[in-house]
Symmetry: D3
Subunit: 257 residues, 6 copies
């Protein structure tokens, strides 16, 4: 159920019956020479929509721009400073609590958002406002991801290429997929990204000249469909698990006395 | 040109040639018993898209959630606290400056965002980052709006009903349009919204029991189309006017010496 | 009753009996070549004093410096950044709640303060601290203003000239009144302040070379007196209306259930 | 020269010639049973006015409300939270730098403002904006204060009583002066304000039941006049000393190399 | 070289010759029933000291309290809110830049600090202040850690037990080591910490009743010594690598043009 | 009892029985040519340790870096901006309240921290979190300090030299003690630090070329021992006095009604 498509009287009954809401979040940032800047927010929105449809749980509009300063050198990348991003998400989540929601899943498709969603989630959890968890699609199906692709770069690699080939194939520049591999970084371990245990880079461009990681030539729309369905299934299970919990199980443990 | 649909190499040439960008902003808030919560951000996005297509000027993703605490009593309304909204918009606008853009039009369809966009725009103007102006569609065509409708409420009235009937007719609950009029506030002057010169209300519900203002029974998709085309034309003219200005004309005047 | 002129034991009884307080706010900013920088805060203080005397309601000291960055190019203009202004006013208003006041009228004479006072008032209203409304003198008597003057500029025009001629005639530079008209902007509609619906200026100097708007040659002390008395009467009525309200009528409406 | 009483063209020449400005600051807080809440800001304004008149140096409006939470238990006391106060003062001081002023004297009459003015002054000094110093009248004439009064309480005692008897005698409640002494704390050393080296109190009421300190029965308008003249003389000397300094002498020392 | 043990003239020559500094950071938080709260900051300080001694690079005092709200339920745990932690570390790092240092290693022994140190490091890197990298000892020697212990909990497990047995054996409660294993969580995969890809916990107590993770009965002081020496060696190499870099290699890449 | 040296089960009983905690705070800043940068935090930690041992009251780790921008010109000085320092200390103090502590003594050895600790203490006192008082060792034994030394500079003078000679004699550069006197400022009254009542300096270097104040040649380890023991005794008395107070005596007084 997509909250923004309805009138408030239509939402009233839905929200009265609901305890959970879905908030999709992505980014608008370079994804190599072959994928659109929208990649992450398209994935988040598509998964959130599928799970909302299947479960009837309300979902909010997607936060399209996330914490992406590490991709800024590539033309068109947009980003929000971490404090602004955290406050924006916190504000929206508090709204849901006002409307009676007491649990939220952040359906996230951008690694750069993770620690910030955890920080916001903790704040809201500790002050008793709401219980929100961050969920990232590829972390819910690690075996399948490994099975399908040989070189899984963390960004603009085969798993994202497959997903967009499935969700929005018209936005993939097929002519640039080999170039993505050849001009990017196929294998993270070949880079000097970590020196004696320290991550010495701050930006994607430090490791990949064209912003792509992994080998996306491996990706197909069919693989994308398998990923999409498997991840949606995990998300639906997570939502069901969350809805089944007792409210008191969502609150912080008391101090050990 | 919608920035997020393209790869970064495709954007590179576009942005090198561009001096202006369009940032659409709306809200996700109650719009009476007959219009969807998405009303404002749908309008902003549709106008921004039309103008971006016509001019080739890049537009960013839409900021879907705005400053709407005054509608919160109606189920489903989402809002962002003013400081968070201002920081979020400021952050995104600074990105555009990093990419070489020096002028921005905030295509806005929500009255509650106006003063905040002006505050952000001023800050960016004063520190020399970028020149951003706020544009609200109905303020660009006041005569046409007055000509088409008898009772123009500021919110969820005939002008927004006509626009959504044109842009996304499937989201209008036609069965509730009369109810919107009968249970809302048709004429602002009949309310006690202003007492001896002071606005004594803070929330929409203080003046309208169902959140609607004006008489939307007057609205049709055809009128919506006229509004849409007239406003798009104004927006295109504004963009052309802006692009034609010299960079130094965009900077603050110096102190009078 | 001016709070600062009394000892605390004298105030104790007054405050115990009071539910309402008056907070005057203005600016210290250029008002054309003929009016003093103090114009706005003099007007706010004079009106607040008159209404406090007539009603016995306590008034606080005047906030003399407001949100005036848009006048900064003219020598001597002082201003406070919006976040600082909001916090300052919020702080002072919370004090009044501590002393048992549950309603406040911001007697404001500077347009640049309005949206900020509304933002502070909303915050205090929503968290249940106090009910504060913003009141601007000329908005309480629009018919009289229109009746008295032909070209009512929004700033440093005939209405403010008349008011200062009544309140503090020694501060009006009579020799510069024609110059105010001739070197300023008599009719806003002649300016290009609004382009295709967008306000394209940020500073007063963008529209008026000497900072004046309207035609102040029309102003007299007698007209000032009429304005002053009419506005005071409106303010007194507002205060009486406010005092007569039940405390529960001052609180936000609950969510629609 | 009082900046707010003039038009901007009149100020232009004044400010072009000026390097220094005076900013008076006080408080609106209880001053025992016999003195008005305005005490501190009246004193600051009177001294600033006298020195501005004598030297021709521009002075700004007075900041009437300061950092006074420690007096809040007494009816009518107003206060500003420290961060808001610091930002407000910083904002106003930056204005003066915009207008070409490079040195400021904060003419302060409230002890609770001191550390905050120093913090703001340091920030502005370190970033090269302006050189601002805090000056408190009684610290400029310690010998005279000691000579005139036997029990000099730090607040609402004889020195402030004398000053207000001189500046605004109609605001002193003469009938309550003995009561101020008898119900207050005459001698700080008799209190348990400091325990084994720690200040264990946070509020004035912890040490004085009526908010007065010292023995104000000792005060007369004549003594007030002597204090006023002596302090004004010191302030004038300070301003002259400041104006005589080379701009580079106002900047922070470089790091020791 | 420990900066705080020296006089400023002694430091002058050292700092003039230095480009790099070491800032140790840890936490003060529960470490199961057998390890002291100081565990993390003791480890960070010991490693920093060893590397500073070996290389002559200056190190600052240790930040003893970190971002540990997730351990708060256990008595004595101290923590700093993320924004305060980030500002504190940023402030200290800026000092080092003032003294001519242009590269910093955060020698960190607490996982909860990582994302915050990265956020601060990025901010300082982007504004050109300094190049700071976060280094966590166990991530520099993953093979050795795996070789030495069977059940490596992330917190209060064998690796930390071994380290403290080497660094400060008197602070290990040997009688509680088996209890740490038996009442804690030996194997993270046995927990329900991750549900369908989402981390559903916020606090250590959600997964471990006594705060310990892994099997610390495996730990010895000898193993601790091996860890300590191996990690110190990595840290020294990192410092040498960092010192050898050209200053321009430390700056952010420019935008792709 | 040093909190960080214990396991959480060991702390549980201690904290259950405790109402008071000790938080030591100092600085890392130049202390003339003869004393280490650690001077203030070493003194605070030593006194806190002695008092914690004698009373059994828990003490936290020491805050080693304080508010010292006024010493920054001397190589190696570290400092934290005032807002960051206040937030850091507030965060740590709130932790103690979570663990059941309702009173705190800030054992402080750096004058630059005082006003900030008072500001934090007030905030926590007013919102009912905890009652925290600031204690500075030399202010608890003013007579003894005066008796032992002729020229007591406020910083890096004989009292601190004596204390470090007692606590950490190996860190005193005996060869530089005369130089400290000769190249520093022996007598504050000889400086032009205060001009007509205004402190016109912001930095230590404005008054002392080598950062030392007073005559440290007068100091001996024996005098240091006397100071240390006398101050410890005062601190123990303060802690006992604090522990003996009723909880309600720690709360703010209500408003005078």
């Amino acid at each position: 159920m997509y909250l923004a498509d309805h009138t408030w009287p239509a939402l009233q009954a839905e929200l009265d019956a609901a305890s959970t809401a879905i908030v999709p979040l992505g980014s608008t940032e370079q994804h190599g020479p072959h994928l659109p800047l929208a990649t992450d927010h398209l994935i988040a929105e598509a998964l959130a929509t599928a799970a909302a449809d299947e479960t009837g749980i309300p979902r909010t509009p997607t936060v399209d721009i996330g914490v992406s300063p590490h991709h800024r050198q590539f033309p068109g990348t947009l980003w929000v400073d971490p404090p602004a991003f955290r406050q924006y998400v916190e504000s929206v989540t508090r709204n849901l609590a006002y409307h009676g929601i007491d649990r939220v899943v952040y359906v996230n498709a951008h690694g750069g958002n993770v620690s910030h969603l955890r920080e916001v989630g903790r704040r809201l959890h500790e002050d008793g406002t709401i219980y929100a968890v961050e969920w990232m699609w590829d972390e819910s199906i690690p075996e399948l991801v490994d099975e399908l692709f040989e070189h899984n770069g963390p960004h603009a690699g085969p798993k994202e290429t497959a997903m967009i080939s499935h969700i929005a194939p018209e936005l993939v520049d097929e002519t640039a997929v080999s170039e993505a591999r050849d001009g990017g970084l196929v294998d993270l371990e070949e880079s000097d990204a970590v020196v004696h245990g320290a991550r010495t880079y701050y930006d994607a461009i430090d490791n990949s000249a064209n912003g792509a990681f992994g080998d996306p030539t491996d990706a197909t729309a069919e693989k994308g469909e398998r990923l999409f369905e498997a991840a949606t299934e995990q998300l639906v299970h997570l939502l069901e698990w969350l809805e089944a919990r007792e409210p008191e199980a969502l609150r912080p443990e008391p101090r050990v006395e």
